[in-house]
């Protein structure tokens, strides 16, 4: 196990920021800690890196207890939200900063290898302010990789990246991480980002991990309504004593559909139309959201027939809301 957080609690003054956090990460895995702002996710990174100390619980990194270890003794990489490059050092010196103790020829070799890995050849003499946002991020990653950590922490890694470039940079970054065979912990508030890059997701709410599972499980089988809504549009419906999470794409519009809903709202989203329906099922009234093809003409349409794809894997206990 690369990382193991057991019963972590942290208070700032009288505010309980984290309560009983339990998370682990295996070698080569990518974990994303997801939550709204103020949920305590960055605090978890600061605790792992050693910038903060937990009030309770233990953090094991590479199988060793870190309670007595200062940040500079942990060998955990950290890529900051705004990259935190040293503005007075050029790219070469930024990358070699953490390996100043080894001899200069080995340093140069190591930096050249990392420049190649991150596609930054030719930039070694430039200063941080002369680089684009994407290049700065790659320098920050190369600087972290230089010290050979087996675990790297990323704080809101893509929040400063242009929306158009985001997916490209995400793919590049994940590819570098996988090629370097390191484990990573990402912190983000973007559920789509979490679903696309992670092996595991820990969803944080009010200082607690509400759900810790794979992206597929967390999307299809949310542990609560709030988790379900956080990862996209979700409808919840009771059937045979179970509570089902039905995503809008699981409501299929069909003329011969078993259910009939009255349209209450239509919104156009470019690639599709989003329709809100009122309908009755087993004597109970529900509000459902479903998607309709962008070219489907809904003018003068008052109601729609549809079928629900019931997946047993999507159902939760009606009372506890647990899968």
């Amino acid at each position: 196990m690369i990382l193991n957080l057991k019963h972590i609690a942290k208070n700032f003054g009288e505010i309980e920021v984290l309560k009983d956090i339990n998370v682990d990460l295996k070698e080569g895995e990518i974990l994303t800690i997801l939550g709204a702002s103020g949920s305590g996710k960055s605090t978890i990174l600061n605790l792992i890196a050693g910038f903060e100390k937990p009030d309770y619980g233990s953090i094991n990194i590479y199988g060793k207890d870190t309670r007595q270890k200062e940040p500079h003794e942990r060998n955990v990489g950290f890529v900051f939200q705004n990259y935190a490059l040293f503005p007075h050092l050029n790219v070469f010196k930024n990358i070699s900063f953490g390996i100043g103790k080894i001899d200069i020829s080995k340093q140069t070799l190591q930096v050249e290898k990392l420049l190649k890995l991150t596609g930054l050849q030719g930039c070694e003499k430039r200063y941080p302010h002369e680089l684009s946002g994407g290049q700065q991020q790659r320098v920050a990653l190369a600087r972290t990789l230089a010290t050979n950590p087996k675990l790297i922490l990323f704080d809101e890694a893509f929040s400063n990246v242009d929306a158009i470039l985001k997916s490209k940079i995400q793919k590049e970054l994940i590819s570098i991480i996988k090629r370097s065979r390191v484990s990573a912990v990402f912190v983000t508030h973007d559920s789509k980002e979490a679903l696309s890059i992670s092996d595991k997701i820990a969803y944080l709410k009010d200082g607690k991990v509400s759900q810790f599972s794979t992206p597929k499980d967390i999307y299809n089988k949310p542990s609560s309504k709030s988790v379900g809504h956080f990862f996209g549009k979700a409808n919840f419906i009771e059937k045979a004593g179970k509570n089902y999470c039905v995503r809008p794409e699981e409501c299929i519009i069909k003329k011969s559909g078993k259910h009939k809903g009255l349209i209450t709202n239509i919104s156009y989203h470019g690639e599709r139309q989003e329709v809100e329906l009122d309908f009755k099922y087993n004597e109970k009234e529900y509000k459902f959201i479903t998607y309709v093809d962008k070219n489907f003409d809904l003018t003068n349409t008052k109601s729609l027939n549809f079928d629900i794809i019931w997946k047993n894997s999507n159902c939760m206990d009606i009372y506890t809301m647990q899968p």
């Binding site: 500079h72 060998n75 950290f78 900051f80 040293f86 503005p87 007075h88």
Partner: protein, 510 residues
């Protein structure tokens, strides 16, 4: 160590019950307290008029030379109050050209300028820039944010300025005023020269004339009560108000002034500028040239060297201490580190004479302890350069600390974290990352502290080694020995040094 002298003052002050003190209490102490309170009131009123009035006009109105006034109104800062006082006694005194000229015209009544009102006016001229700078910065920040809602509610621009913007900058006004008041309590040069007896002169009298450290401490404690009240009022005003805008305002559309209104504005602004800077500066330059040959001798260079040695050494220690305190706070911000910094800054709010008496008591106790217990034959610390440097450190650590703290704030904390995360210890991070990034800010902080120590008069007068003259003490001594015009040569050096931060600021503006 830094707050020990202040604690000792209170301790000694409370424990004193000698004959001298009883005599002081029976005769003049109440008068000293009354005069100090009256001086504080007069200086407050005048400096508020100059400070708020000028800040308000240059921020919200447009007229000819408005930009020149904006910069020019800061310039009185470069002339310390005591030098300003000496100059006005020379310009308007009994033997001044002006007086002789008036007598030649048949004007027979002697008009005495060496009085309380002139002291109030001189102190207001020297100190109003504190209010001007703070209030102007606050106006610039808040003007539009506060003004737009008022205008949208149908208020006229001028009415909105007076009724909304002005009252809501209360925090800056009180902040500037409290600095003015603290400097006024601390002032020794002008008040003693003009024969106005305040608590500051009383501390000197009881120490130099009566050699009574107990009485000096007692009076110092009373001065500290004044300071405490000022600090509490400032704290109270800050605690209740959180009106500042979150971000900088958009440029404000100024009200154009012409005709009679512009004339009044020029008249108003030219009073502090003319009397606070232009006139005294011309006087100093004039007499510097007149007496340069006579006064620039070996002694002149020794005085400069003395000033530089004491100030450079003290500023160096202050910056090192400030970096240690600020970096500790940066790495471990907590209520404890915050209060350590507050206590370390306490000396700045105390009058120079009070700090000096505290240090004399501390070092005398220490020296006697060494003599009695370790067989030392003479005083080790009292009356040495070390005592003077220590005095500067206690008094001006706050100046260095606040500059260094704000410099650290400009470097984001993640840069420090990134370095430690890459395997560097906090100390390595300080030397390899933080200090190289802060180099320029630290130089500026050093210069600011250096200037304050160069200007400091009362503390230097009490703590300097025997016959050790600095620019401030020499200027003062020449002035009190009827050689005010000759003192211009030394005053000119002080003013030249005080110009440095103004030049830095102008560069920043560009």
């Amino acid at each position: 160590m830094v707050i020990l002298p202040i604690i000792l003052i209170v301790f000694y002050g409370l424990g004193t019950d000698g004959e001298n003190l009883q005599h002081l209490k029976d005769t003049v102490l109440l008068k000293y307290i009354g005069t100090t309170a009256k001086l504080l009131l007069f200086v407050s009123i005048l400096s508020l008029i100059f400070g708020i009035g000028s800040a308000f006009i240059v921020t919200f109105y447009e007229f000819r030379f408005q930009k020149t006034y904006t910069i020019g109104l800061v310039l009185p800062f470069v002339i310390p109050a005591y030098i300003l006082g000496f100059i006005y006694s020379d310009i308007f005194g009994y033997y001044s050209y002006l007086h002789i000229f008036l007598m030649d015209l048949g004007f027979k009544n002697y008009f005495d300028v060496l009085n309380f009102n002139t002291v109030s006016f001189v102190l207001a001229l020297a100190l109003y820039p504190y209010i001007y700078l703070m209030v102007r910065a606050s106006f610039l920040k808040n003007a539009n944010t506060l003004l737009r809602p008022a205008l949208s509610l149908g208020m006229s621009k001028e009415k909105a300025l007076f009724r909304v913007v002005l009252p809501l900058n209360r925090v800056a006004i009180v902040g500037g005023l409290s600095l003015v008041l603290m400097e006024t309590i601390s002032e020794y040069g002008v008040v003693s020269y003009y024969g106005v007896d305040t608590l500051s002169t009383a501390v000197f009298k009881s120490w130099f004339d009566m050699g009574d450290s107990g009485s000096a401490s007692y009076i110092s404690s009373i001065a500290m009560i004044f300071i405490l009240v000022i600090l509490l009022i400032e704290k109270f005003s800050q605690g209740r108000a959180r009106y500042t805008a979150e971000s900088a305002s958009l440029p404000f559309e100024k009200i154009k002034l012409k005709g009679i209104k512009a004339f009044f504005v020029h008249t108003f602004l030219s009073i502090p500028l003319l009397f606070g800077f232009v006139l005294p500066f011309i006087w100093i330059v004039n007499y510097t040239f007149k007496y340069a040959k006579e006064r620039i001798d070996e002694e002149f260079f020794i005085v400069i060297l003395n000033s530089f040695v004491a100030s450079a050494f003290a500023s160096f220690i202050i910056i090192i201490l400030a970096v240690i305190l600020a970096y500790t706070y940066r790495l471990a911000p907590s209520i404890y580190t915050k209060y350590i910094n507050k206590f370390a800054s306490l000396g700045y709010s105390m009058p120079g004479a009070v700090v000096a008496i505290g240090i004399i008591i501390l070092f005398a106790d220490f020296d006697h302890y060494l003599i009695e217990n370790f067989g030392f034959k003479e005083l080790l610390l009292s009356g040495t350069l070390f005592a003077l440097v220590f005095g500067y450190v206690v008094r001006f650590l706050a100046v260095g600390l606040s500059s260094v703290l704000s410099s650290f704030e400009k470097v984001e904390l993640n840069i420090n974290k990134a370095s430690r995360n890459l395997g560097k210890t906090p100390l390595q991070t300080l030397f390899q990352i933080e200090l190289p990034l802060l180099k320029n800010s630290l130089i500026i902080a050093y210069i600011l502290v250096f200037i304050d120590t160069i200007k400091e008069l009362p503390l230097t007068l009490i703590l300097r080694p025997f016959n050790y003259e600095t620019l401030a003490t020499k200027t003062y001594e020449l002035a009190i020995n009827e050689m005010v015009q000759e003192s211009a040569v030394y005053a000119f050096c002080i003013i030249l040094i005080c110009f440095i931060p103004i030049i830095f600021n102008l560069k920043d503006h560009k």
